[in-house]
Amino acid sequence: MSRLSDRLGKLRSNAPAAPQAVPVQSELGGRMQRLRGAASPRSEKDDVVLAEQLGGACIAEGVIAVGETLALEHDHGRVRLRDALATSLDALSPGGSVAVDELVFMDTETTGLAGGTGTVVFLLGLARLGPTGLELMQLVLTRFSGEAALLEAAREWVARGQAVVTFNGRSFDVPLLTARYRLKGRTDPFSALPQIDLLHPTRRAFARQWPDCRLQSAEQRLLDFHRRDDLPGAMAPQAWFDWVRRGSMTLLPGVTKHNRWDLLSLAALMPVLENVYRDPEAWGGDPLAVARFQRGRGDVAAALAMLEAHAHSLCPAGSNELARLHRDRGDWAAAVAIWRRLAAHDNVEALERLSKFYEHMCGDFTQALHYAERLALVERANPAHAHRLQRLHSRLGRRVSLPAGGS
């Protein structure tokens, strides 16, 4: 041992220092553990003590389950869980009919954010909503050998689920779990289920309004929920390493608490996001983004209603979107009214639309030319405008020479 480290030490003596073996030793528990000589392999008894600390029980070798049911009257920030149960999923789910009580809420704590097969899920938080309340199940890994049992316990728990609700789970939690199941030679129950990743609707509605769209930002702004004494997510790996290496139980309860809040926020966000999609402005959201989403899903009526309801406060891009929707259903008068209003401020798209409208719909080349000329002034460099001017000039010329019916 010492021979190898000597050799490496010499080869490296000029390289940057290797990572420190012993992490921060601030907490008393860890120091006590060390004094008691807890560096030796931990026993089943340690798991029992940890389970007590976390308020759970050992369900298999290396796995602690922490279960809890919160009544429907429980308030998470401004949301009562009963409201979550009443959420209509139309705005959030990608389609299909899933009932709220068939959802599985899921959030993991891992040994790192880098991904790859060396990243372990050491805490798998699950929850489901039902008539009795929100049922939580946190599965905690106490040693590597418990992983297969943890994954199997999770499979049983989600067996009845019809969709998974996560926050950024589509690109992080679910692929990571898939890798863990694959490593154990098992099929994974999560990736087969439809996914409702609440990050996406949140980002859609608020990306331009908020500095970031992390879960905790959403929870503060939409749920008015503010965590107190939360263990930062970045500390989670260290908490588990301290436990596994030295039997320190100091930080792990903080991780389960953090994860529990994440799960609660997932459930509570659903009814709020539903409201956001109904009335974005009331929540400081972006009606245009929501309307575009609705149009993208083929729900033109909802998109139109959304933009009409906010017509007074829309940005130019929003107004143009609304005008396009009017045009698409043949309501040219409404569209032209909007374009005229925008054209007064030299809006390029509106000028172009008007020029086209007068040229192709009305055959009014004079009006068309008027808007085309303004357009060419606003966007001098665009060769398409010059082309349009030329065409209109020649059409007008022909029209003058053939007043009877040139087109």
């Binding site: 041992m1 490496l8 010499k10 080869l11 000029n14 990572p19 073996a21 040994t111 890798a179």
Partner: protein, 807 residues
């Protein structure tokens, strides 16, 4: 390219023999005295075999439609070996149809058994060529086999399709190391069905890079075992002395070697060329550069497609400028001369490759970058500006001329370096020498530990598992102590929040490339990339940096940010860095000493510093100025062999200290060349220095050609009489060493004997670049001969220890 096409060459090549022969005759007539050796390799007919009877009819159809009616004998041999499930290495010349050796068994298995294959090429460019070729066969035979590249350029949304649907995935070792193995679960289906792993350009996997790649392959096989597969490896290599051995080291298993090419070969002529002596006293010859441009001018004017190889990127630019000055004077016409080297952006390189294939470029000037199997079509003449450093490398570059049965000419132009001079003065040595051994050291401790880390991340290690030549449990225990692994029962688990593959670069110790950013006209455009090791000698502030012979000047170097900001300029000079090295001995491993002198091998600390640069005017090559450079030192620990003489013996042999110093510098210069030749490594793989072993002083050759002692800060010092123990160091030029110092120590007497012959038999009077290094005209006036001093030092070094044999 790589398909046998026996019927084509005779037709295309109809007029070429005359042109090449005329050029050779002309060169011989005008420059007889400069040609020191000549070799004519006669044309060789092809040896053919019919298609194997079990070849899938769809493949037969695809080959027919591309005009292939039979196979070369080595292609058939490879088919039999690979189909029999044996690891196989194929060693045949450029353009001998190597790719069919692996494409046929791979496509057959994909068609008949849905088996998968992984192709590894050393560069992305080669991967793309390869996929293009498979797709062509695929189309020709409507095979429906899916081949995709998977590398850093593969878009995120395409990756899943590659992983799950690719029959053949074409990638590179770096991507396997950082992108595939650490995410192996995503590739589960691929690994479960992986039947073949193809490793082309195997000869590039030597030294540090090869040692890393051997470990990546250890990891690959470990992952395959996890998924229950055991792929057959098919390797292809240019000529080296030990292809079978290298292949076996890389994949750690028995390998069948196929090294008899059945492909026909056109006649080849090789000339060894020594520039004329222009100052007999100083032994100074005309520059290789001037000769190379002259030969290239003749060749291009004769209508022959020509490639020039140089040793450095800088020389690529200088030669490109000289030839553009001749052939590309009219900017309105498409350029006839192009440069090609590492550091150019991929688009620029692809463009040059395409133009070469299309025949619209007449002359290309390149570094070793074009030595690989990049498809650039047929060339007629190849001129090497300087000996590439290895026999294998020389033949590989010469192989660029004379593809497809055409007669070809190669010219090796010697520089004034001792190795070059040795080669052209002893043509029989070169023409008869076997190519070098490719050496790797997969168990080099730093490299091995890097990959044990990565492997532990990929899959927990189990008790009793094996990985590499060190005691694995000891390595794992070390990593546990370091805090990245955790032992639990029978297993060792990764327990850290990092992704270890990201901090391990296969190519070097390099910490990231530098980008060169053009800020002319207020823009910010990346025009090139420079690797970490080259950056200090090419991107210092004030340096002239060239791309396609257009000069930019470095205005600011952001060392931390790995960026160099450059502006276009009109310089009539280029710049060359001045760097020096000092060493400190840390520990002896072994030593051989007796009265007065000794030789030892051990651990050293090396500091390299770029102190300044010279400005060199084009064409005249006058030194027109100096500049200072302020850059961080490059430090490393490695192993070295060193030779010392006791101060008393030294005092008796030399009147003055500076004479002794001249002797040591000259001896070191000669020993370095001989050591490179004897250990069959490249000069740059071995570092050279003269100092005192404690790092208190080291010797440099000053602008006046005289040896000078300098302190650790580079200030000149006058050592007192105490403790003047000059030491010649030859060190393994890689952190930790890659195993060069042990064979070098074993060869210690031969190094001295060879150096003595090199210096003594040199035709110069007082020393020259071909033996003890360049000297100045004032040497005689100074009353000493560096050559005599070097000989005296070599004799002193050789007299001391027990292993001494008279030369």
């Amino acid at each position: 390219m790589s398909l046998p096409a026996p019927q084509i060459p005779e037709e295309i090549g109809a007029t070429e023999p005359d042109r090449v022969a005329r050029l050779v005759a002309r060169l011989k007539r005008k420059y007889r005295g400069r040609i020191t050796g000549e070799l004519v390799v006669p044309a060789r007919p092809g040896r053919y075999e019919p298609f194997p009877p079990d070849l899938d009819p769809r493949l037969v159809q695809a080959l027919h439609s591309r005009g292939v009616e039979r196979l070369y004998s080595h292609q058939r041999g490879a088919w039999e070996a690979v189909r029999a499930g044996r690891h196989t290495v194929v060693v045949t010349p450029t353009a001998s149809g190597k790719t069919l050796c692996y494409n046929l068994p791979v496509l057959q298995a994909a068609l008949q058994d849905k088996a998968k294959a992984l192709y590894l090429f050393p560069t992305k460019a080669l991967s793309q060529d390869q996929v293009a070729e498979i797709l062509e066969l695929n189309r020709a035979g409507e095979l429906g086999v899916r081949a995709y590249t998977f590398d850093g350029d593969t878009p995120g949304d395409a990756r899943k399709a590659v992983r799950t649907r690719g029959d053949i995935v074409v990638s590179n070792p770096d991507m396997l190391h950082q992108g595939i193995l650490p995410h192996h679960t995503k590739w589960a289906q691929f690994f479960e069905n992986l039947r073949y792993v193809v490793i082309d350009e195997m000869h590039t996997y030597r030294g540090v890079f090869g040692s890393h790649v051997a470990n990546v392959l250890r990891r690959l096989r470990r992952i395959c075992r996890f998924y229950g597969s055991d792929p057959v490896f098919v390797l292809c290599s240019a000529t080296i002395a030990n292809p079978g051995e290298l292949a076996e080291q890389l994949i750690e298993g028995p390998v069948r070697t196929i090294d008899e090419s059945g492909a026909p070969q056109g006649a080849k002529q090789l000339l060894l060329w020594n520039p004329p002596v222009i100052n007999p006293d100083l032994g100074i010859r005309a520059s290789a550069r001037s000769q190379t441009t002259r030969i290239a001018r003749y060749a291009v004017k004769s209508g022959l497609k020509t490639i020039l190889f140089t040793q450095t990127r800088l020389m690529v630019e200088v030669l490109t400028k000289y030839l553009k000055d001749v052939f590309d004077r009219d900017p309105r016409r498409p350029p006839r001369v192009r440069a090609y080297r590492g550091g150019y952006l991929p688009t620029e390189r692809r463009d040059t490759e395409q133009k070469l294939r299309a025949g619209s470029v007449d002359c290309v000037i390149s570094t070793s970058a074009l030595e690989l199997g990049v498809d650039i079509g047929a060339l007629d003449v190849c001129v090497l500006n300087g000996y590439p450093g290895t026999i294998a490398g020389t033949w590989q570059r010469l192989g660029r001329a004379g593809r497809r049965n055409r007669p070809a000419l190669g010219v090796l132009v010697a520089t004034s370096e001792p190795l070059d001079q040795y080669i052209v003065r002893n043509p029989d040595f070169f023409l008869g020498a076997s190519p070098e051994h490719a050496r790797i050291d997969p168990d080099q401790l730093l490299i091995l530990m890097d990959h044990i880390r990565c492997a532990a991340f990929e899959l927990a290690f189990r008790e009793g598992e094996r990985f590499g030549g060190e005691e694995l449990s000891e390595c794992l225990a070390y990593l546990e102590e370091e805090g990245v692994l955790h032992r639990e029962g029978e297993g060792w688990h990764w327990m850290d929040d990092s992704y270890p593959a990201n901090s391990v670069s296969l190519r070097s110790v390099a910490e990231g490339n530098f980008v060169v950013i053009d800020i002319t006209d207020g823009g910010k455009q990346v025009i090139a990339e420079v690797d970490y090791t080259s950056a200090p000698v090419t991107l210092y502030e004030g340096a002239i940096y060239m791309v396609q012979a257009r000069p930019w000047q470095v205005e600011r170097l952001d060392w931390e940010g790995r960026k160099a900001f450059v502006r276009q300029t009109e310089a009539d000079y280029y710049t060359d860095a001045i760097d020096y090295t000092r060493l400190k001995i840390l520990e002896d491993f072994e030593r051989d000493s007796a009265a007065g002198a000794h030789c030892a091998r051990g651990e050293v600390h090396v500091v390299r510093r770029v102190a300044g640069y010279k400005k060199i005017r084009y064409y005249t090559h006058d030194n027109v100025g100096y500049g200072n450079v302020d850059l961080p030192d490059q430090e490393m620990h490695t192993t070295a062999v060193w030779w010392q003489v006791d101060s008393r013996a030294l005092e008796a042999a030399f009147e003055s200290r500076w004479q002794a110093l001249d002797g040591f510098l000259g001896a070191a210069y000669a020993m370095h060349s001989v050591a490179a030749l004897l250990t069959m490594s490249e000069l740059r793989d071995l570092g050279r220095a003269v100092g005192d072993g404690q790092g208190t002083w080291f010797a440099t050759v000053d602008a006046d050609g005289r040896g000078r002692m300098r302190s650790a800060d580079g200030e000149p010092v006058e050592a007192d009489t105490h403790g003047f123990v000059p030491t010649v160091f030859l060190y393994d030029n890689y952190p930790g060493g890659v195993g060069l110092s042990a064979p070098l120590f074993d060869l210690r007497t031969k190094v001295l004997a060879g150096a003595r012959v090199l210096v003594q038999d040199c035709g110069c009077r007082h020393g020259c670049p071909a033996c003890v290094g360049p000297i100045l005209a004032s040497e005689e006036a100074r009353g000493g001969s560096p050559k005599a001093a070097a000989l005296r030092v070599i004799d002193l070094l050789a007299s001391g220890y027990s292993g001494h044999e008279s030369p």
